[in-house]
């Protein structure tokens, strides 16, 4: 992973980068890190999605970066604004783990798989192909996307660094 020119994406946050800068988000557990990339214009976007659907939101001022169904259209708008061509956009995703296992069926613990499902559903609805993913499992991930290459680096405690 490179050290310079990194744009940080927080929890329930999204951002875009181009011209070789990287986007990075740390400590993904049940959250999903979604990236969009245009390989010709070298424009990249990343969202750190926390919850599957804004239908459950009770907040006054909606944070659209938090929910899969609202974050993805906004991220798309931002990468297009930066010069990406919608027809060339490809998506990658990582995260959506189930960090804790309980004997009892507690629905909030299945939030990881539900985030992945909802993210894929939204991408399919917008016709953006998912070229690779590293989702599920029971471990945390830190991800970094290079706007130079479109490579998504995924670091975890157990498995080291992986590229997709």
């Amino acid at each position: 992973m490179t050290e310079d020119n990194i744009v940080k994406v927080g929890m329930a946050d999204l951002n875009v980068a181009s011209g070789g800068a990287s986007l990075k988000t740390t400590g993904l557990g049940s959250c999903v890190g979604l990236t969009l990339f245009d390989p010709v214009r070298m424009v990249a976007g990343m969202a750190h999605i926390m919850l599957p659907s804004s239908e459950i939101a009770r907040e006054g001022q909606l944070n659209i970066a938090k929910y899969a169904d609202t974050a993805i259209p906004e991220l798309l708008r931002r990468v297009l604004e930066l010069g990406a061509d919608r027809r060339r956009l490809v998506a990658k995703l990582a995260g959506g783990a189930q960090m804790f296992a309980f004997a009892g069926g507690n629905d909030s613990l299945r939030i990881g798989p539900r985030n992945v499902e909802s993210t894929k559903h939204a991408l399919t609805g917008m016709g953006i192909p998912i070229v690779s993913e590293d989702t599920g499992g029971n471990f945390g991930r830190t991800v970094e996307l290079s706007s130079q290459t479109g490579i998504l680096y995924i670091r975890s405690v157990q498995h080291g660094v992986k590229e997709i």
Binding site: M11, T26, G27, G29, M99, A103, S108, I111, G140
Partner: protein, 206 residues
């Protein structure tokens, strides 16, 4: 949260005392298990942005041993007992006589022992709160993960996630002799639990 618009300082003080009593009992339990004195800090009670919660234990990517329990009953919430790997190794050494260095992987026995410690501590925390408030509060079966702090703590803020971008955290640090942090207790009651806690403690809501 609107509940905290009126008399916020007093309400925060009450929650600090709640944390103080709960963690005090848990610290006593830990001290007995390890057969050495365990001090604790005064709990900090505050609304913490999701992004900043992991900073309390060294940052989002810091590897921690986290025992997580869901609290069920009248005042549901999430509870974590968090230790650094170094602290976890020390606890294992004292309790099981296992010469464990700081490491990335743990055996089933080691994980199960750490999980049980979390269970005992959370149990004493919660039972003292239940006595204090008269509310039913029972811990779920505990679950352990040794992983990035950001990844494990995100589970604790899901209930707050639909309401905003910060959670009300009751954080107590356990200290060993030389003020070295031994572990953290995070209690994050669900948003709707505060009103019930205040009512049962006789705190005027408005």
């Amino acid at each position: 949260m609107e509940l905290f618009n009126h008399n916020p300082d007093f309400k925060m003080d009450v929650l600090r005392e709640v944390g103080n009593i709960g963690a005090g009992h848990a610290a006593t339990a830990l001290s007995r298990l390890l057969d050495k004195p365990v001090d604790m800090s005064v709990p900090t009670v505050s609304f913490v942005p999701f992004e900043r919660i992991a900073d309390r234990v060294g940052g989002s990517e810091e590897v921690v041993a986290a025992i997580f329990l869901r609290v069920d009953g009248d005042a549901p919430g999430n509870m974590f007992f968090l230790m650094s790997r170094k602290q976890a190794a020390r606890v294992l050494q004292v309790l099981l006589g296992i010469e464990a260095s700081e490491k990335d992987s743990y055996s089933e026995l080691e994980l199960s022992a750490l999980c049980e410690i979390g269970n005992i501590l959370a149990g004493s925390y919660l039972s003292s709160l239940a006595d204090l408030t008269g509310l039913a509060m029972s811990p779920s079966v505990p679950s352990i993960a040794v992983d990035m702090a950001g990844a494990v703590l995100s589970y604790g803020v899901l209930q707050f996630g639909t309401m905003g971008d910060e959670a009300l955290l009751i954080d107590t640090t356990f200290l060993k002799g030389e003020q070295e942090a031994e572990g953290h207790f995070f209690f994050i009651p669900d948003p709707q639990s505060f009103e019930r806690m205040f009512v049962s403690l006789g705190v005027p809501l408005e």
